[in-house]
Amino acid sequence: MEMFLYIALFAPLVGSLFAALFAASPKTLIAGVVPSLLLFISFIASSILLAYVLQTGGAIHVEMMTWMATGDLYIPFGFVVDQVSVTMMMVVTLVSTVVHVYSIGYMDHDKGFNRFFAWLSAFVFSMMILVMSDNFAGLFIGWEGVGLCSWGLIGFWYHKESATWAANEAFIMNRIADLGMLIGIFLVYWNTGTLQYEQAFAVMPSLDTEILTWMGIFLFIGAMGKSAQFPLHTWLADAMEGPTPVSALIHAATMVTAGVYLVVRANPLYDLIPDVGLFIASLGAFVAMFAASMALVNRDMKRIIAYSTLSQLGYMFVAAGLGAYWVALFHLMAHAFFKALLFLGAGNVMHAMHDELDPFKMGGLSKVMKGTFVMMTLASVALAGLFPLAGFFSKDLILEVGFVQHHYIIYSVLLFTAGLTAFYSFRLVALIFHGEERYKLFGIHPHEAYKFMLIAMSPLLLLAIVAGAMKMTYFEMVTAVLPATEYHIHSEITYWIMTIGTQLFVIAAIAFAYKKYALSKVDVPDGSSDMEKSFIYKLLYNQYYIPRFYENYFVKPYREMSHAFWKEMDILLVDATVDGIAKFIYNTGENTRDMQSGNLSTMLKWMVAGTVALLSLAVVFALAVRYLGV
C-alpha cells in the first residue's frame, strides 16, 4: 500500500516538473496531457487507498525520511493515510483531475499554457502534502506550498496589474495567518515535545487549559487565513483575478478548505477547548451571513461564487467548531464538488462571453450553452441545498447540528443565510441564462465550450447530485478517527417541520430571484436606480468598505511609515549620527589646524604657554598637597 501512497503523493509533482520543463517554450499539448494523466493516476492510487482504508478500517503510516532533527526536535517527512486524509485526497485528486482536463481546453489559447500546468500540478502536490502529513511541520509545508502556488496562479496573467496585486495580497494575507499557525506549532512543540499529531494529541489532555486555548487560537488563526475567514477574507474575492480553473480548484474546492481540515485534524485539541470551538462556530456563522450578503449585490460572476464559497466555509467552521467534525468534512467534500462545478461552468460562460464577468451584460445564454446551463443550474440547486442534491444532505446537517446543540442564534443565522444563498445563486443563474439576450448589445457571439470540457465536468455533476447518498457510508468510515456523534433531532415532528420549512424557505428565495431577474426586464445597472443609491446596497457593494479600510489604515500607513523609516530615520537619524561623529572629528581638525599657523613666534608662544600651564598646575597641586594634605 505504501507504494500507492507514494504514487498518490508524487505523481502530481512529477507532472508539475514535467510541465515546468516546457515552461519557457510555446504551448505544447503534452505539457497539459501528461500532468492530467499523472493526476488521474494519483486519483486511482487514492481510490485504492480509500478502498484499503474502507476495508481494513486502519490507517497507513509511513516515514519517508528525516527532515529536521536537532536538540529534542525531530521532524520527519511522515505521511498518514487515514479516514480523514483519504477523504481529502479523494476530493483533491478528483477535483484536480477534472480541473486539469478542463484546463486543457480552457487555457487552449493562452501563451502560458505549459506554465499553467506546472503551477497547477504543483498546487495539487502541496495540497497532498498538506492533507497527508502526519505532523504539524509537514502540514505547514503544504500550507505554505499551496500559498505559493496560489500566488503563482492568481498572478498567472502577470502583465495585469490587478492580478499581480491580488496575488501579492493573497500571499501576504495568508502569511499573516501563517504566523499564527507558526506560533501555534511552537506552542505545540514546547508543550508536548513533538510535532507528530499522534503523540502531541496524546499529551494534550494532560496540559493546562490555558495553554491549550492559546494553542487552539493560534492554530485557528492559521486556518482563518487559508480559509479566508473574517477579517482575513478580502484576498479571496480578489483572487478571482486568476484563471477560472484555478478559482475552481484552489479557491473553491481545496485550498480554502485547508483551514477546515486543520480544525478537523486537530479535533482532539479542539474537543478539549469547547470555548474556542464556540468562537470558531460563531465566527463561521457570522462569515456565512456576512459573505452571503456581499454576494447579493455583486456584479462580478466569479466574485459572487467566491463569496458563496466564503459563506459555505463559514458553514463548515460552524460544524467544526461545534465538534461535528465529520459533518464539516462531509460538507467540505460535497461543497467541493458543486462549487468546482459552478466555477467551471462560470469559466465556460466567461469564455463564451470573451471574459466578460458582469452577469447583467449576459442573459438568455441557455439557448446557446445548454450543457453549461444544466450543469450550473444543478450546481446551484445543490448549493442552495434542495433535496435530493448533495447540498441538502450536508448543509441541512449543519443546521441540525446547531439546533441540536441549542445554539439557536447560530441556527437562525445559518437558516437565514440558506435563503440568501438560494437567492444569490439563482440571481446569478437567472441573469446569465434567462431573460433577454443583453449581450447582443455588446456585439458578442457566445458559443458552447469544447465537448471534452463538458465531459470532464460531468463527474463533478454526478457527484454533486449523488454525494448525499453516501452520507451514511461516509459517516461510518470517518468516525473511525473522528468523534462519532450523530445529530438527531429528538422529535420526529420537529425534524420534519424544520426540514420542510427550510426547503420551502429556500424555494421561496429561488422563486423571488427568478421573478426579479428572469421574468421581469433587467437593465444593465448604471447607478441610477433607487436601490443602487441606498446605503445598504452601497455598503454591500463595497464589501462593507473593508478593502478600503485596509488600504487606508494598513497598507497606506505601512507604505508611508516605511518611507519615513528610510528617509527620516535611517538616513537622517541613524546614518547621520554615524557620519556626524566622523564629521565632528574631521571638523575639529579643520577648525583647530590654525593652531599650526606656521609662524615661529606663535610656535614659541605655544611652548611657553604649555610650560606655564603645567607650572600653574604644579603650583595648584603643590599648594593642595601642602594645605589640604591631598
Binding site: D594, S597, L600, V608
Partner: protein, 101 residues
C-alpha cells in the same frame, strides 16, 4: 644686606623670565637668539651660585658645558641666519610661514 643663594636664584629666575618673554615677543631672528642666550646664561648664574652653596664643583661644570653649548648654538644659529638672510634679504620671523596647517 648679605647676598645669599636665594638672591642669585631669584635673579636667575627673573633673567629666565626675561628670556622667555624675549623669545615670545621678538620678531627679529637675531634678537630671538639673544633671548635664548639670556635663557641659558640665567641658568649659569644659578648653577654657579648653587655650586658655591653646596661647595660642589658639579654645578660649575654644568655651567661650563652650558656655555660651550650656547656657543656652538650661536654658531649654528648664525650660520642658518646668514643663509636665510642671503636668500630672503631679511631675518624677520613673520616671513617664515611657508609651511602651516
Amino acid at each position: 644686606m648679605e647676598i645669599g643663594l636665594n638672591h642669585y636664584l631669584v635673579l636667575s629666575t627673573i633673567l629666565f623670565a626675561i628670556g622667555l618673554i624675549g623669545v615670545m615677543r621678538r620678531k627679529n631672528l637675531l634678537l630671538l637668539f639673544f633671548a635664548t642666550e639670556i635663557l641659558l646664561n640665567s641658568v649659569n648664574i644659578a648653577f654657579a651660585a648653587i655650586s658655591h652653596y653646596y661647595g660642589d664643583l658639579t654645578g660649575q661644570m654644568f655651567a661650563f658645558f652650558v656655555i660651550a653649548i650656547a656657543a656652538s648654538e650661536v654658531a649654528v644659529g648664525l650660520g642658518l641666519l646668514i643663509v636665510w638672510h642671503k636668500r630672503h634679504g631679511n631675518i624677520d620671523l613673520e616671513t617664515m610661514t611657508s609651511m602651516r596647517g
